[in-house]
């Protein structure tokens, strides 16, 4: 099958056209004449190109040396600073980059200037469907014959068995994605009587400490000791703010969810779950830094801008007998982004 292309340094002629009415077809202009490069004709230029390629390879060698200078030369044990790490990163990165780049650029430069550059034509062959199919069928037949799969049922059957079993690990791996979350997305650590505490210290918060204009970042008491701390925190984080009680407009049923203008809202954006914590104390807007969803605290965190759809869930709060803030229940709706089962 090697008759489809034939090329030699000297062929740069036209492709022969078949058929009778040659005059009506475009003439194949062929390839432009072969133009020798500087290095082909001038021995000095050739020598120079050779030196350039060698220099690029030497740059690669230097790059590798620079990498190891950075790797072994900079000791990070004890008393190192971020500045040392920065120098090491720089040497490792530059060293590797030039080690690779030197070889790559050198080889391309070598091929372009010094290696033969004759043009080769690969001609398009006629389409011969019947012949090609016969050849292909014969090849397939030969392959099957040569493997001897028909004569060796033991090999065939064990192969079939192996192929049937091989996809099973994938089933096991995908099974690990489960079990289905059930109702864990609907519930958080908050419950009646759970104290509001500061993030990250976990100390309780007195209602009187939350002065007008303040913003507290809140986690439920006991979160730092819980087994799945990060999973629980991702659902339970709350932002606590104090507004003028006059500016709150609680809807029926939510009148007693705040304490003298102190309100607590979930910090998890209902769009894709970024922490909404950019609180503007004058406009009472909460802004999500990821996609600019904006929630209005004076309208129970209704979405006033951006891609979020649901308002932020409010956490009902009260004070205990010692004046510390407590939750009076869990959130009344799932926190965070929508999901299929949320409805």
């Amino acid at each position: 099958m090697g008759d489809h292309s034939h090329g030699s340094p000297n062929t740069s002629g036209t492709v022969a056209t078949a058929g009778q009415d040659d005059e009506e077809k475009f003439r194949n202009p062929g390839l432009p004449p072969h133009r020798p490069r500087l290095a082909d004709t001038n021995p000095q230029a050739e020598k120079r190109a050779e030196r350039q390629v060698a220099a690029l390879f030497v740059i690669s060698v230097i790059g590798t040396i620079v990498f190891f200078v950075g790797y072994f030369g900079i000791k990070l044990e004890g008393g190192h600073t971020i500045a040392d790490i920065r120098v090491q990163n720089l040497l490792l990165g530059l060293g590797t980059a030039f080690a690779m780049l030197g070889i790559g650029v050198g080889i391309v430069h070598w091929a372009k200037t010094l290696m033969p550059d004759h043009e080769i034509i690969e001609e398009r062959h006629e389409i011969r469907p019947e012949e090609d199919r016969v050849v292909a069928e014969k090849m397939l037949g030969d392959i099957i014959e040569e493997t001897g799969i028909k004569r060796r049922p033991l090999i065939r059957n064990t192969l079939l068995g192996a192929m049937v079993l091989a996809p099973l690990p994938a089933v096991a791996i995908f099974r690990d994605l489960g079990p289905l979350p059930g109702d864990v997305l609907r519930h958080t650590m908050w419950a009646d009587g759970v104290h509001l505490t500061r993030d990250p210290s976990g100390t309780r918060i007195k209602a009187s400490d939350v002065t007008l204009g303040s913003a507290f970042h809140v986690i439920p008491e006991g979160l730092n000791e819980s087994e799945h701390k990060l999973e629980e925190k991702a659902k339970a984080v709350v932002l606590l703010m104090r507004l003028d009680p006059e500016s709150l407009n609680p809807s029926p049923g939510r009148e007693n969810w705040n304490v003298d203008g102190i309100v607590a809202y979930s910090k998890i954006c209902t769009h894709v779950g970024c922490p909404v914590a950019l609180y503007e104390q004058h406009t009472h807007h909460l802004l999500c830094p990821c996609h600019q969803s904006t929630f209005d605290l004076t309208q129970e965190c209704k979405v006033i801008f951006g891609p979020a759809v649901h308002p932020l869930p409010q956490l009902p709060i009260a004070v205990d007998s010692e004046g510390y803030l407590i939750a009076t229940s869990d959130f009344h709706e799932p926190v965070g982004p929508s999901y299929w089962e949320r409805g």
Binding site: L38, T81, I82, R86, G93, D199, T211, A215, Q281
Partner: protein
């Protein structure tokens, strides 16, 4: 004070009063009612704070507006959180206790004076240490880094493709 012009956010402008006049004004305002006092030297001493703890507090309380590296960031409708680089220790402390413009107040019951000191220590620490990952490009994250890689990086790739396919002279 007075604002140079009405707008979503009052911009920084040249100081109008002398140090002494500012102190006298503050003393008069303080006589009108209770409020946070000017922090003393000890409270704003960054060397006494714990930068690691300060970093944790900064990421919980401040980083969402001021950026994880303190480079500042945008808020709604033209407002913005300013960069914290080069801001004096006293200024940072006063901003936390008073909550200028739209910044919330972080009173001593929320973040104790020692914790405020730690936050200042963290900010001064990252300022002094520079960026371990190389050029920080303003610490603005994907915006400046993306712009850089899409122009400089892609430009380099295009230059290489042109060179690869060009004939040697």
């Amino acid at each position: 004070m007075p604002m140079a012009m009405q707008g979503p956010q009052a911009q920084q402008k040249p100081v109008q009063f002398t140090e002494e006049q500012t102190a006298q004004l503050a003393a008069y305002v303080a006589s009108l009612g209770a409020g946070p006092a000017v922090p003393d030297e000890e409270m704003t001493n960054a060397a006494a704070g714990n930068a690691a703890e300060g970093g944790e507090l900064f990421r919980v309380n401040c980083a969402m507006c001021h950026n994880a590296a303190g480079a500042g960031g945008a808020l709604t409708q033209g407002k913005f959180a300013p960069s914290l680089e080069g801001v004096s220790e006293k200024h940072i402390y006063e901003a936390m206790v008073t909550g200028p413009q739209n910044m919330p107040v972080f009173n001593d019951a929320n973040i104790s004076p020692e914790d405020k000191q730690s936050i200042i220590a963290f900010l001064k620490n990252i300022e002094a240490n520079g960026s371990p990952g190389g050029a920080e490009l303003g610490s603005l994250g994907p915006v400046s880094e993306g712009l850089f890689i899409w122009t400089a990086g892609l430009g380099l790739v295009i230059a290489f493709t042109i060179w690869l396919t060009a004939r040697s002279s």
